[in-house]
Symmetry: C2
Subunit: 407 residues, 2 copies
């Protein structure tokens, strides 16, 4: 592995969309197009051939000795959240570029075709829907749902893809469902503190947690904060506060099963200092790889709603925004990746992924492996997101070994 | 009292700034100027003389028999909050107009000069500062503080008063501090549910509660909602939730002392479904007529901050936005108004005012009486605010008796 070259590759990517507030290469924007172009140029120098599929995913191809064998794919993404970091996604693509370079350095022609894929639209920031490119490749593009999405400026998803010269009507054709694919590998920063706290260099992901997301509306009665006695109030914020604390309590009890739960959004209406809140809206994100454990948290939440209705006379409505099943990754891949780490003497940990990744879509069409590398203090989706080049190089080394072993 | 005439007067006021979302006659706007003009025309028809003071307050004068006697003043306001109701303020001015008309109907020339004042800028909605006109009249206009205020569109207070042809530099001259004033009376809707719940027609206000307001900032650490284990989190919203519930608990224990406390504003940052909140801001409004009781609530809040710091590792900053002393009204006035109610057979209640009123400023320069009339379900600052004309007429009747008695 050439540490300097990995650094240069990441720097090339991060020239695009850079600002002092963080990286901005949102899904299906000019910036994402530009960074895809940077990738293509880097890979063409290494003798790869570029193909863009119907969804805009970049597929770089290095042919193998035996054209009859199913390919091995390495992939991740280059889009970012608003004011994102320099490592989320980029690391996985950068590691892919480095592995190709390293194989070329050593004049190895692998048995199987190697593909390096840059998936488009992995981050949900722009359209509220993530892993769009890998969903399309896995044959899960839902035209009906996608046609209704708009970004914060009111640009519809079909219009946005048209602006980057894609045809909304043919995106479905990006599907590779049914195709023979030998293996898919992704390297990604952990986006959490577990590897750092355990002083491990690689996380071998066993399962990807799925979110169950609820939108909850609490309706009480707005009234004057100075003239409404405490016992006449129907304060929606107090209901929301109890809900937030219930979410935490339930998730803590389910921590043994790897479930986490968060209230990330909470808004109060009318939101004036002198008005008892009449309405509150919150969004709750429950994640885990254990479906029953997530359900336990939901049930405690429903009990809490009932109690608030009786005790505080609040009207509580809720709806599921998302309720996805977790993805268990291929056991053979997990074992093989762990063995590779051991062979290379890399301290590693089997762990679950709390966040969603392109790998979870690819797992539905081929054996899939996902490796995490540590990131500083678990910070991600932030301009100060950081992973050391040394740790990234270890990820590249492990994956190169694994790929050559699997040929 | 002429019920039809009271209704007509209020209708004349409420033609100005009417919309289906509520009344909009904000402080120091064209609409407030227009409604002042309506008032002046109504009063001039009744033979009163108009004067506008340096703050824009309208002072309508009916001369008394004896020019050496100190005047009796009736006053309230005609400005509204954003999308306000038709009764807050208007009722007090309308009652004043009706009393003048009624005295004229009966060809009574009172011993003392009677003034009817429409104070400007009573509502804090536009500049975050209320009872501006009556503050100026009571000699409490703070030029330094007022020069720094701006509205939501960025218009400064000095610019706003210039736009309605006032001179910011001379507003202080509106002060009547040191002048002999026999009595000041205000009638206002209660803006709370107490009179309605006790089936009383008049509230004789004994004291006006003062707000102690705190802005609290809770700083935790933003992190990924899927990848951050529960025990690694510093969730600012959970801290805010505990604070909100502590505020309620403390105020409930102090309810016997008439203290109320509210968290009316609570914002969460960054406010994304997939991010553990790193920061929360809340504004807390504690009101009461008992200074010690308000202090008990504040102390419990400070204890809670300390506990959250130790237990949740949250950094909590707070500042006082307002910390005012409550205003006790004149005991002789309270007794006299209560006796008048008894003489007229009007079911009444002595009570405190949770909201601030122009009367609290006038109380610092002369004996002051404040009467409440019931409003439906305590709803105020809302387009559906309602008080019955019959109840308003009872308020006018009580106040007319009181004024003639006090001459």
């Amino acid at each position: 592995m050439n540490i300097k070259r990995i650094e240069d590759t990441l720097n090339e990517f991060n020239k695009i969309g850079y600002s002092r507030h963080g990286m901005n290469r949102l899904a299906f924007t000019k910036e994402e197009e530009k960074v895809k172009r940077v990738l293509i140029e880097l890979c063409e120098k290494e003798g790869m051939e570029a193909r863009i599929d119907h969804c805009g995913n970049v597929i770089m191809i290095k042919e193998g000795k035996n054209p009859n064998l199913a390919p091995v794919i390495i992939g991740s993404h280059l889009d970012t959240v608003y004011n994102g970091g320099q490592y989320d996604g980029s690391v996985g693509v950068g590691v892919g570029v480095e592995i190709i370079c390293s194989i070329n350095d050593r004049n190895i022609q692998p048995e199987r075709r190697v593909e390096l894929i840059c998936f488009v639209g992995e981050e949900a920031s722009r359209f509220g829907m993530g892993t769009i490119g890998s969903s399309a490749m896995a044959g899960k593009f839902d035209q009906e749902v996608m046609s209704r999405l708009t970004d914060q400026e009111g640009v519809s998803f079909p219009k946005a893809v048209e602006n980057v010269e894609l045809d909304f009507e043919t995106i479905r054709l990006a599907s590779r469902e049914g195709e023979r694919i030998h293996a898919f590998f992704e390297v990604h920063i952990e986006q959490g503190p577990v590897l750092e706290n355990h002083q491990k260099k690689i996380g071998v992901v066993t399962a990807i947690a799925a979110p169950t997301r609820l939108k909850v509306t609490i309706v009480g009665k707005a009234s004057h904060s100075g003239t409404t006695p405490m016992n006449y109030r129907k304060d929606a914020l107090l209901g929301a506060s109890e809900i937030a604390l219930t979410v935490e309590e339930a998730a803590k009890l389910e921590a043994v099963n790897g479930t986490v739960a968060t209230v990330g959004q909470c808004s109060v209406f009318p939101g004036a200092m002198n008005v008892v809140p009449g309405r509150a809206e919150m969004k709750i994100d429950i994640r885990g790889t254990n479906v029953e454990s997530k359900q336990v948290v939901v049930l405690k939440l429903l009990e809490c709603f009932k109690d608030l209705k009786n005790r505080r006379h609040l009207d509580i409505q809720y709806e599921y925004l998302v309720d996805k099943a977790p993805v268990k990754l291929d056991t053979k891949m997990i074992n093989s990746l762990s063995t590779t780490c051991e062979e290379l003497g890399v301290p590693h940990l089997q762990m679950v992924s709390g966040a969603g990744h392109d790998a979870m879509n690819m797992a539905s069409i081929c054996p899939t492996g996902l490796l995490f590398i540590p990131c500083k203090e678990g910070l991600s989706h932030h301009k100060n997101e950081f992973a050391s080049i040394e740790d990234i190089a270890i990820g590249a080394q492990v994956l190169e070994h694994e790929i050559l072993k699997s040929m």
